[in-house]
């Protein structure tokens, strides 16, 4: 017996069964009958090859236009880049600020302002700016309004500030940028509790560990431990785990959608912003991350702290997800 026999046998099953299935199908969309004098197949879709060729033909003008646009842009962009100073407002940071400020207490709002500033500073470093001055200026602006309200956020981008910074650029000697961007490698998300927790406050905790292993597992080869680490976080092969240290972060959370969304460098430590999407389904999840620690980044696990930000809007949460962290170094 083969599949064709089964197909043939299906043709002999009772009509009422087939009828139910056909009624089910036609109830949704009754096939339109061809008008008298027209071929039966007029309203049927074209064969796949024909459809594909039509689609390709439709795409060609758009593709040609896109190529032309890219060509023009490639020719013009380098000239523009030389002529204009790169001081532009990064709008994404403001959006983040508003979202977070609405959902969190005052202290978090202050943190978020700092994040916005750090993004600005990063942006300006491309034109060899003096970020030290930027930081100081901004600190002056932001330390005052501790009782900050969400609607005051837009005021944190005054035009005068930009002017002041550009003046500083012209007057001060070039200095090394003090903003650092490191990749954020996400590991597994595991559910350590098979049951949903109802009517209970979710657990939150965060463990920091510096790798390579100070005390390797005696039962496994060290190379195997490195390999499992590489696999866990999908660490690129060119990153030498035996030579370059990592910060291993394990977040215990009550919500599945929990992620590191921001970072601030503190005294020999990191202050991480961990955002989570607050839903009714609470359980116990373990979310793992790793951050490479470059030589000039002094981070001690005991100095690392976490600030949690609760979000209820999924789109806002998705917008915060990142695979790298930028932060200002504290000099």
């Amino acid at each position: 017996m083969n599949a064709l026999d089964v197909m043939k046998a299906l043709g002999n099953v009772p009509a009422d069964m087939i009828g139910t299935c056909m009624d089910d199908l036609t109830a949704a969309d009754e096939p339109e009958l061809p008008e008298a004098g027209t071929a039966l197949h007029d309203d049927l879709p074209e064969p796949v090859s024909a459809v594909r060729s039509v689609r390709i033909i439709r795409i060609i003008p758009a593709a040609a236009a896109a190529c032309l646009l890219i060509g023009v842009f490639a020719a013009v962009y380098p000239k523009l880049r030389i002529q204009t100073p790169e001081i532009t407002e990064p709008p994404a940071a403001i959006v983040t600020t508003e979202t977070t400020a609405q959902n969190t207490p005052e202290t978090t709002a202050v943190t978020v302002y700092t994040t916005a500033v750090s993004q600005k500073a990063t942006y300006r470093t491309t034109a060899e700016t003096v970020s030290q001055i930027v930081t100081e200026t901004v600190t002056d602006v932001f330390t005052d309004p501790v009782e900050t309200q969400p609607d005051t956020v837009s005021e944190l981008q005054p035009q005068t500030e930009a002017t002041m910074i550009s003046t500083a650029i012209t007057e001060t000697a070039p200095q090394q940028p003090d903003t650092m961007t490191v990749p954020l490698w996400k590991g597994s998300v595991s559910n350590s509790s098979s049951e949903l927790i109802i009517d209970e406050a979710p657990n939150f905790s965060c463990l920091f560990r510096r790798l390579p292993f100070e005390q390797p597992d005696p039962f496994f080869e060290l190379s195997n431990q490195y390999e499992s680490l590489r696999e866990e976080f999908s660490i690129p092969q060119d990153f030498d785990l035996t030579q370059e240290p990592l910060l291993d972060i394990t977040i215990i959370t009550g919500y599945k959608d929990t992620a590191i969304t921001g970072c601030r460098y503190t005294q020999n430590g990191l202050n991480l912003t961990v955002s989570y999407l607050k839903t009714n389904e609470i359980s116990e999840y373990t979310v793992r991350y790793a951050i490479p620690l470059p030589e000039n980044l002094k981070v001690e696990p005991e100095n690392c702290t976490v600030e949690y930000v609760a979000l209820t809007d999924e789109d806002a949460y998705q917008a915060l997800l990142t695979d790298s962290l930028s932060f200002e170094l504290d000099h």
Partner: protein
């Protein structure tokens, strides 16, 4: 009188206008089934014509309860025959094969008889198995394997994702395999 009853009544009276009504009312549906099975317009149109001839020859004496299902079965059978013939042509294509096919039309081999018995058993088993399935699962299975509907159409119809339909079909196929094994048909 219901349209389908009227068609059957016209066929019983040997009125050829019944075929015209069938073509107008169910032609597109039958063409779609045949087209999905053969993948060729000409073949599909020929399948519909053959189906109409089968209808003329089989009603009476047959009196189907559900005319569209009956028509779908007929057009499907015609399309499967065409599929088999096309494959036979691909396999052999020699005069010997053609001669053998011609002889086989009047002299059924022992294997063929055995095959027909097996086919009857298979139909009975399939009917029993389908009856035991929940209606939704059965309809999804029949839409795919009787009507040859695309997974995409089924997903749209039931408001499911593509992968959910594929998973559902996979599970149902696994159940069928298990059942046929249990029945000694595999």
């Amino acid at each position: 009188m219901h349209d389908d009853d009227r068609i059957i009544s016209l066929l019983n009276q040997r009125d050829e206008s019944a075929l015209q009504i069938i073509r107008e009312r169910y032609g597109a549906m039958c063409f779609q089934i045949a087209y999905r099975m053969t993948g060729n317009r000409e073949d599909a149109e020929e399948c519909v014509s053959d189906m109409l001839l089968d209808v003329w020859n089989s009603i009476p004496p047959n009196c189907p309860d559900h005319l569209p299902a009956y028509l779908a079965s007929l057009v499907r059978r015609t399309a499967i025959d065409r599929y088999e013939k096309a494959h036979r042509r691909k396999r052999g294509g020699t005069q010997f094969c053609a001669a053998l096919d011609e002889l086989a039309e009047i002299i059924p081999s022992g294997e063929q008889v055995e095959h027909q018995v097996e086919q009857r058993e298979l139909t009975a088993a399939l009917t029993k198995w389908l009856q035991a399935l929940p209606e939704r699962k059965r309809n999804i299975f029949l839409l795919r394997y009787f009507m040859s509907e695309s997974v995409q159409t089924i997903a749209q119809k039931y408001g499911m994702s593509l992968s959910a339909v594929k998973m559902e079909l996979l599970r149902t196929r696994e159940k069928l395999k298990e059942y046929l094994r249990k029945e000694g048909l595999l």
